[in-house]
Amino acid sequence: MNQDPRITAYAVGELQGRERRKFEAELRKSNLLESETGETSELVNLLSSAPKPANKLSQADRAQLFAELSEVNRNRRVRTRLRWIGLAAAACLLFFAWPAYQFVSTDWLSPQMAGAGPWADSSYSSVRENHAPRAQATASAPAALAVPRDPSGLMARASEAVQPLRSLAAMPAPVPPDNASYMRRPVVEARRAVPTAPFLEPNVDMVGEATAAPASEFNTEAYASVRENEFVTAKDNPLSTFSIDVDTASYSNVRRFLDGETQPPAGAIRTEELINYFRYDYRQPMGDDPFSVNLEVSRAPWNPERELVRIGLKGRELPAEDRGPANLVFLVDVSGSMEQAAKLPLLQRSLSALVENLSDEDRVAIVTYAGSSGMVLGPTAGTEKREILDAIANLRAGGSTHGSEGIRLAYETAREHFRKDGNNRVILCTDGDFNVGVTNESELQKLIEKERESGVFLSVLGFGTGNLNDSTMELLANKGNGNYAYIDSFSEGRKVLVEQMNSTIFTIAKDVKIQVEFNPARVAGYRLIGYENRLLAKEDFNDDQKDAGEIGAGHTVTALYEIIPAGQPVPGSPSVDPLKYQRPEQDASATSDELLTVKLRYKAPDGDKSKLIEIPLKADEIPAFDAASEDFRFASAVAAFGMKLRGSPDAGKISWSEIQDIARGALGKDPGSYRAEFLTLIEKAKRLEATRPPLPPPLPIRF
């Protein structure tokens, strides 16, 4: 065991300047020292990533404190007042000073977002819409907003102030309980109902107070609201069209919520990303096709009367030596908020791991923005690993200068060193600050789309908590023909940047679209599970101008359809009177044994014209769920997990334990133990549901 305390000092960031450089030089020379430091850093990461403790003083304690404080102040000013006047003053002080303080010091967007609870999901998207009108309201009428939010509560606290210390008399506090989740929901709903009404502020502030989270933990994470796909009838909607999605960010993000014993907002649960987080053992493509298509059908585990169809794609594996050279430009957010251990330091370690795996032909450049901006490392060949590692180690967060041309500089750099046969990519690494130099979001999208045409793609790596702008990150990666991953630990960083480096970075087919045609003779209705924000119009399928998802080397992409067999009613589809002028046609395929036909379109990474693959799914009999393949059963378990976690009515009555049993029985070889980890995630969801209090009826809205 190494007794050199510099190992720990280095791992926690206490080693600076010359000492740090000297130690790093020694690190490079000694494998033992390096591995010991690496392990220590991993422990540091683990220890720092634990959620902060949440115990708080009781309201009575706080009240006592403020009473004492105001008394001290009063004594300083006027030493001869009677004690009871002081207490009255305390009450007044609390009454006025507290709300005033909250007014000046808290972020207007934040109070209701503090500590994401079950209430948070529905508020996320509406909060963003509300930004502008609320800002105006605060600017124009601050006095109105400084009105005390909860006079009765404050009075209660002030009156408690006269009580003895809590250690002498434990007394119940007549104030809302700390965990006031039941108060949150109605406010959120009120905000949704009247999204721009500033006079609802008092209510909103009440929530901020009830949650009483530290200012630094105020949460501005943003999620788009996603409405689940509903069942549609095969007769009226024979075609279902969508773009593939190889992102996996939703899974690690959901994992972070569950690890913190918090219900993830519904908008953060993208079921297709949960399913695609896992690798499936589909066969390698044959011939010239860049990917294989694997269809399977069985029963839905959550509803045996329904069928489940899986469409599984697998991108061709590319041996490291066969791939073209990489031309990577990392665009790194170095704003002050990136300082936390789970952000920039984690990024640095993940990047260093990537650098170790670069080949001599590859080039890496690093551009920073938001803190100090500019080129930190010019395009550097994979042979100069040491130089790259030094530049990564020297990244520092801090400052708030505008990185004026960050993203343009990154693209320029990538274009200057464009490799025709290689992978040209800008990789944006951030915790949610998009102050990349182009402030307008749609302008930013346009820029990314324009650069995509030049052959430079964009991937996004998300870090940290509290400021994560999930929906924007996903959108930008989509626009840039790239993928979006959320990195919450070193092992996740290694998975994304090293293990899956080929698939994350090396696109083998772009604009991959899937169109499924259902045979109404066999299918009454169907529902695509997940892919809600990837749906395309049926006309888009043959439109080569229409952007869609990319598939990387070795990637697997899985989509599931839940099917209501012909003859059963389709929920939610209102009956329509028979048409008067059109005769219902007797379909020629009515006797066909085909359930559906899958059509795929894709382009080569540098191509403009799409190719078409068509595969029918024949099924005379639907095999029982237990007889389905391991991969099929596992993907079904993940789908059920996502649906249940979102509170989807389609999840039926399946229990967490049943989902767990299915997953446990379908672990397969499970390299990397990702599937085993999923079992623990189900356990956490199960426990979370057991501890979640039921929501009482909404409070009336006060005007």
């Binding site: 926690v12 422990l43 683990l46 634990a50 404190l65 001290v72 000073a97 809590r166 530290p214 200012a215």
Partner: protein, 169 residues
Amino acid sequence: MTPEQIITEALDNYESLLISYAREITGELESAKDAVQETFLRLSRQNLTALRPRMRPWLFVVCRNCALDHVRKIVKFSADPVEDHERASDDPAPDERAMVSEEGRRIWDLVASLPLQQREIVKLKFEAGLSYKEMAETLKTSVSTIGVQLHEAMQTLRARWNFETTEAA
């Protein structure tokens, strides 16, 4: 800033961290809360504007003193106080530990088995985020002692972690 604002800010930023830290010393939640309550009461009697830039180390120093006072009081009344205290703090506190991931829970369980001084340092570093210098001030020792002790704690943790991991495999 008014004194009320400074106190509120300090409460918001440090209340939970201090309770968790004090609990490491007193071994139990209620007395930890008492110690933190006492800490903030003492804070309210300070010249807050002058103290504000040094708030973090000041709070941890005073909180430690208050927590130790509590332990001393227990010592007076308890027949076998040291063992009592040790046992209490080895007991993983459910409300805190439940918050952590499986791996995170395991590592913090290991932390609970370290000697008190090292436990304090680990908490101050990874929960409260104090620098070596601030920790030295809090624990009334030198920066290099902090460095050595934290390293010792980390190496013990690493050895046990690796041992457990290989055994589990």
